[in-house]
Structure formats: structure tokens, C-alpha cells
């Protein structure tokens, strides 16, 4: 036994010592590190995309390192690495709500030279451009976008609702016809998804959430929006489990045919229409409803590409070229056709190749055009956490929506007040 243990130990020591050493930078070659969240699907098209960059740039050695998709985990990784002085990452994916934060912290570089704001505004979706242009400077380039949309069961209701009132009445009618059916599924768990749902409700009631760089939620529209969400739970249109639901919980439930409406990101459509799905062929998508009947703005999601501010000039130039390559129209097409990622370029939605190969994505144009970013502020992360807690308290009935928003506003003001100008 002892000998077995000793030899096992020796083998482990050898394996530990032999973990691959990084090859020293070959003379003249620049080593570029890309940190990205793995794209769901076959790896070949993306590898080919990267290979094309390598071929066009033989002086660059590209290393692609996937990291977790979970936004919180990725954020923590980056904060630790960037704060810890890491100089070995060059191009990184940045969630749409981090751009202002990372820019203010000085971790991502100003890209206005290679990607002038005016050009971005002309070529990209308005919401996506708004999220990355801060003070007339570009800090990141949108890679792919996401937007909150409404899913509805074409066999249970005659049309997609335009107003909140209509959603409620249509849901109730369907629920009366089939007991046990849930009316409206959405994400009410205490996490960032709740903020998305809440902002959509506030915007749907006509509210603004950013005023002169400050976050404002305690407004009449804010109270109406959160009140609407609370009312959904209290009146039974949404099942009580909504307060602990994340995207997948809503999706699975809807996929089993147990709900009339669902608010979710576009990714769900792929699963809902997949072979073997109980609701295949019976699902429609539409913009979110609003108070007045105009299409409600969905929250903007998605990831952008940024360049680390610590990359020295030779790597910086190569990094900018990589970003340009990955956000080019061709790359956008690959992402859309092979990985079902919604493009950030407006023109792609009308491209015949996209229309033919990914009609579902092309159909999203009215929704992505109206996608609105959550308040673009360097201290959004600081405030978001407090906001989630208060929103969750409102949803579970612990506090009234008015009280919850008042408290959230107080905390937001305190954070904004404490921030140096």
C-alpha cells in the first residue's frame, strides 16, 4: 500500500511539473490572448473564423481561452485578474452592463481611433451603440446582442397582446379554458434577470431610468411598472414560482406547454421549435406589450469585445484588428447562421443570406431595433445589487412597490453621492 502511494505521488509530481509550459514569444511574433464565452454549437465555424484572422495576420499568434458564460462568474474573474495586474489578456468579452464600469476603472482601452462613434452609430443597432459609446468615445464593440421578447401560444390565444391590459385578459381567458395553465412566465428571481424584467416594465409604462447620469427608479412610471409585476404574482396570472425563476425555468415550463405567455431572450425559440418539443409549431414571438399599445422596449443583452488597457502598443494594434475581424459583417453572419447569435449590425438583418439561413433571427429586427440598454453608468453594478433586493421584496409582498422603490432610490442616491465626480 505504501509503495503504491509513493509511486502514485511520484507520478503526480511528474505530471504537475510537466504541465505545459508556455512557449516563449517567437521573435517578431505578437502573442494575442482572446478571452471569450464559449459559443453554443459546433466548434469548427468559429475556429475557422479565428484561423482566417491568423492567415491574414501571420505575425500574430492567437490564443483563444474560453471562460464561463455565467455573467457573475465572468465578472469576478475579470475583476480579480484585471485588478491583480494581469497583463496577459488582450481582447475580452464584456457584458453590456460592465462597459461603463470597466471603462471608468481604466481596464479597457479607448477604441475611438479604430472604431469612431459616428461609424458605430451608423452601422449598429441604436441600443447597442448607446451601450458602448461613453462621452463620445468608444470603449467596446458590440459582438452580438440579445433582447427581451414576448413568446405566445398561437393555439391558445388569437393574437399577441399589445397592451398590458390585453395580456392580462387574454391570459385569464386561456387559463379559464384550461385549468392548471400558467398565464405569464417571466424571471423574478433575485438576480440581474429581475432587473431586466423590471426595467422593461418601467419603460413599458413610459418611464425613463437615467437622468443626467443618475439612476432614477422612484418615479410614477417606476411605481406603475413594479406594481404591474407585483400584481401579476398577486392576482395569479403568474404562478408563485415566478419569484424564483430564471431563464431556463421559464423556458422549460413553457416548453412543456404549461403556459400561455413567456418573456424570455430569443435563444428559447431554438429549443421550443426543436424536434421533440411539445410546443413545436405553436409558438409566436412579438415585441413586449406596453401600457399604451406601442411595442414595448426589450432590455438589451449581449456581449461586446473590448481591448485591455494594459496591452502594450504592438499588441494593442493587433487586438484592434482582431476586434474588427470578429465584428465584421462576415463574422456576424457566421455567428448568426452557425451559433444563432443575433447580430449587432442593422444591415445584416436585411441580408438575404441571413433571411434564408436564419429566418428566426431576421424576424427579430423590430424587437432589436427597440432594444434599450439598462442605465449606462459606471456604478450600475453597485446599484443593481440593491435594486434586485428591493425588487424581490416587492414581488414577494414583503414590501409595497412604492416602499421598495423608495429604498432602492435612496441607496442609488447614496452611492451616486459618494462617488467622486
Amino acid at each position: 500500500m505504501r509503495r503504491a502511494l509513493l509511486s502514485a505521488f511520484a507520478v503526480m509530481a511528474a505530471l504537475l511539473g510537466c504541465s505545459e509550459r508556455q512557449a516563449p514569444e517567437a521573435a517578431g511574433r505578437v502573442r494575442l490572448v482572446l478571452k471569450y464565452g464559449p459559443l453554443w454549437g459546433a466548434p469548427e465555424p468559429f475556429r475557422e473564423l479565428l484561423a482566417r484572422f491568423q492567415q491574414a495576420n501571420p505575425d500574430v499568434e492567437l490564443v483563444a481561452e474560453p471562460m464561463p458564460n455565467a455573467s457573475d462568474l465572468a465578472h469576478q474573474l475579470f475583476v480579480t485578474a484585471l485588478e491583480g495586474g494581469a497583463a496577459d489578456l488582450d481582447v475580452l468579452v464584456v457584458d453590456v452592463i460592465w462597459v461603463a464600469e470597466f471603462a471608468r476603472a481604466g481596464w479597457i482601452a479607448d477604441l475611438s481611433g479604430a472604431f469612431p462613434p459616428a461609424r458605430l452609430r451608423a452601422e449598429l443597432l441604436p441600443g447597442a451603440a448607446e451601450a458602448v459609446i461613453l462621452g463620445e468615445r468608444t470603449f467596446a464593440v458590440p459582438w452580438y446582442v440579445d433582447v427581451g421578447i414576448l413568446y405566445w401560444r398561437t393555439d391558445l390565444v388569437p393574437r399577441a397582446p399589445r397592451t398590458y391590459h390585453e395580456l392580462r385578459s387574454l391570459a385569464r381567458a386561456a387559463m379559464a379554458r384550461s385549468p392548471g395553465l400558467a398565464g405569464f412566465l417571466w424571471q423574478g428571481r433575485q438576480y440581474e434577470g429581475l432587473d431586466c424584467n423590471a426595467f422593461e416594465a418601467i419603460w413599458g409604462h413610459g418611464g425613463e431610468t437615467l437622468r443626467e447620469g443618475r439612476l432614477v427608479v422612484d418615479t410614477p412610471e417606476g411605481r406603475a411598472g413594479v406594481g404591474w409585476l407585483r400584481d401579476l404574482v398577486a392576482s395569479g396570472v403568474s404562478p408563485p414560482s415566478v419569484t424564483s425563476a430564471a431563464e431556463e425555468d421559464s423556458r422549460r415550463r413553457f416548453q412543456q406547454g404549461e403556459a400561455v405567455f413567456m418573456r424570455n431572450w430569443p435563444y428559447a425559440l431554438g429549443e421550443l421549435e426543436a424536434q421533440g418539443s411539445p410546443v413545436r409549431g405553436r409558438v409566436g414571438i412579438a415585441p413586449l406589450p406596453s401600457e399604451g399599445g406601442a411595442p414595448g422596449p426589450g432590455a438589451l443583452g449581449g456581449w461586446q469585445l473590448a481591448v485591455s488597457a494594459r496591452s502594450p502598443p504592438p499588441r494593442r494594434a493587433a487586438a484592434e484588428r482582431l476586434v474588427a475581424h470578429l465584428t465584421s459583417p462576415d463574422a456576424g453572419l457566421v455567428l448568426a447562421l452557425d451559433y444563432a447569435r443575433n447580430p449587432a449590425r442593422r444591415a445584416l438583418y436585411e441580408d438575404p443570406r441571413l433571411r434564408a439561413g436564419a429566418p428566426r433571427i431576421a424576424a427579430l429586427l423590430p424587437m432589436v431595433e427597440r432594444a434599450r440598454p439598462r442605465p449606462v453608468s459606471p456604478y450600475y453594478q453597485l446599484v443593481a445589487d440593491a435594486l434586485q433586493g428591493e425588487l424581490s421584496a416587492a414581488l414577494t409582498g414583503l414590501r409595497s412597490p412604492e416602499e421598495a422603490l423608495r429604498r432602492a432610490q435612496r441607496q442609488a442616491d447614496r452611492i451616486a453621492g459618494a462617488a467622486p465626480p
Binding site: D72, H75, Q76, V79, E83, E101, R104, A105, G106, G188, R189, Q190, Y191, P239, P240, S241, V242, T243, S244, A245, D249, R252, R253, P378, Y379, Q381, L382, A384, D385, Q388, G389, S392, A393, L395, T396, L398, R399, A419, P420
Partner: protein, 291 residues
């Protein structure tokens, strides 16, 4: 000092040196850094990094959220550790008994402890989903909104913790059971003592060091619980399951407020230190009794 004692001391230092180096070199620096940062205001986004003395701690004492998290964590630890000890003791006795298949039983029972925490949290979230989950299906009726209402959510987290770590406690107690020489049981049998009396009068007192060891380390772990709760509910709903570590995590990582987050961590440390002090005092008394 006699030469033997001096030699003993020298040998002791040599034996202890590697452990001291590891602890001092790898672990003390982060802990010390945490203490130092608790005295500073460090907000990454704003490039703030200045010394503020005890301002963070003053803010903590006035922070409702911190005090609520503290009370919640204390409740969580007390209930979870209590339940675990109550379950682990009979389990350890069952695992001690020399029957066929004992090895398999021991390995099987250790499985909850072995599954990665994130996975087991998701597993329980799945099981507890009202309407969908296995628990709701097996016991239909008024479904408890396990994870979506404040009070049930905290108890769901406790249930997850008990399920996950009772095997660990049982293992520690099992090791303690091995330290009790068989002669002692033989003597008791000769004296004609009943099973229950043997257990109460002999096993339990001799098991005291193991129980207190398990109690000590489980309390430390329960007070600092993070993974299970975070994956299960992310601290929700309405912060009802936010333990001290979850609050520290959100402050440190989501908000990037390193100074305040460090202060919360230090405060957690202080509470745990206090708790350990009490437990250790009891342990010391027990050692004196046994001597």
C-alpha cells in the same frame, strides 16, 4: 530544561516547520491583506484607495443589511449544525458496525458530500420546484413555494446543507469512534451494562473530542457558507437567504467595493472567532475532565 526536553523541542520545531511555512506563507498574507483592506475605502471603479480607519466598521454596525445577514447566518448555522449532529451520530454508529457491505455503505453515504456543491444546489432547486419538482409531485396539495418565498427559502438552504454535510460530520465522528479502544466496551459488557447505558456513560464521553471537533469545524463552515446558498437562490428572495459570505461576495465582486467587502469578511471572522472561543473553552474543560 532537561536535555531530553530540549531535544524534544528541537525535533518538534523541525516537524512543525513545513506546516508553519505553508500556513504563514500562503494563508496569512491574504488574511492580513483582508484586515488591512477593511481599514481602507477601496472602490475599484472610482480608483478610490485611501485609508479611512474604522469608518467601514462604523458603517457596518449601522448597516441593516449586515445585521440582518448576521442574524440570519447565526440562525442558519445553529439549525443546520444542530440537525447535522443529531443525524450524524446515529449514522456514525451505523457505519461503525462491522457488517458485510459496510464499505459500500460508507462510500454510498458519502456521496452527497462528494458531489460538487453547485451541482447539488441545482439538483435540490430542481427537486423543490413547485409544480414541477419531484417533491411537489410526490406530495401534491398546497405546494410550498420553496425557493420563491423568504421563509421557506432559508429552510430549503438549511435542508441542502444538512443533506450535503451530515456525511462529513458522520465521518469525523466515525474516526472518533475508532479511537475508543475495544477493551473499554469489553469491560462494560463484563459489568453487564445495557447498550444504551454503555452508549451514554462510555461512548458519548469518549466521543466528546470528536463531537466538539466536528462542531467546531462545522460551525466555522456553516457561518461562512457560500456556494450552496448562492447557487440555490443567489441570496434571494428579497435577501432572505443572504448569509454573511453572500453579502461579502456581492460587495466584493459584483460591486467591486473591496474595502467594505473586506470589512464584512473581517466581521465574519470576528464572529466565528468568538464562537470558536466558546466551543474551545468547552473542549478544554472536557479534556480536563477526561484527564
Amino acid at each position: 530544561m532537561t536535555s531530553r526536553a530540549a531535544e524534544d523541542a528541537r525535533t518538534a520545531w523541525r516537524l512543525v516547520a513545513p506546516a508553519a511555512v505553508l500556513l504563514g506563507g500562503v494563508a496569512l498574507y491574504p488574511v492580513a491583506a483582508g484586515f488591512v483592506m477593511g481599514l481602507e475605502r477601496v472602490v475599484l471603479v472610482f480608483h478610490e484607495h485611501r485609508f479611512v480607519g474604522l469608518a467601514n466598521y462604523r458603517a457596518l454596525l449601522a448597516d441593516d443589511r449586515f445585521l440582518a445577514a448576521l442574524a440570519r447566518t447565526a440562525y442558519f448555522s445553529a439549525v443546520a449544525v444542530g440537525a447535522e449532529l443529531l443525524l450524524a451520530l446515529p449514522l456514525a454508529l451505523v457505519l461503525d458496525r462491522a457488517v458485510r457491505g459496510r464499505g459500500l455503505l460508507r462510500a454510498a453515504v458519502l456521496i452527497p458530500w462528494a458531489i460538487p456543491t453547485a451541482v447539488s444546489a441545482k439538483l435540490w432547486a430542481w427537486l423543490l420546484e413547485p409544480g414541477f419538482g419531484l417533491v411537489a409531485r410526490l406530495w401534491p396539495g398546497t405546494p410550498v413555494n420553496w425557493l420563491g418565498a423568504p421563509a421557506p427559502a432559508l429552510h430549503a438552504a438549511i435542508l441542502l446543507d444538512v443533506w450535503k454535510t451530515t456525511p462529513f460530520v458522520a465521518l469525523v465522528l466515525l474516526a472518533g469512534l475508532q479511537n475508543i479502544s475495544a477493551d473499554v466496551y469489553a469491560a462494560a459488557a463484563v459489568d453487564g451494562a445495557s447498550r444504551w447505558r454503555t452508549f451514554r456513560a462510555i461512548t458519548l464521553p469518549l466521543l466528546r473530542p470528536a463531537i466538539l471537533l466536528a462542531l467546531l469545524f462545522r460551525s466555522l463552515d456553516a457561518f461562512r457558507v457560500f456556494d450552496a446558498v448562492y447557487v440555490l437562490t443567489a441570496g434571494g428572495p428579497a435577501n432572505a437567504t443572504e448569509t454573511l459570505s453572500v453579502y461579502a461576495y456581492k460587495t466584493l465582486v459584483r460591486a467591486g467595493d473591496f474595502g467594505y467587502g473586506a470589512a464584512i469578511s473581517v466581521a465574519t471572522f470576528a464572529c466565528v472567532a468568538l464562537l470558536s472561543g466558546v466551543l474551545l473553552a468547552v473542549l478544554a474543560r472536557g479534556a480536563e475532565d477526561a484527564a
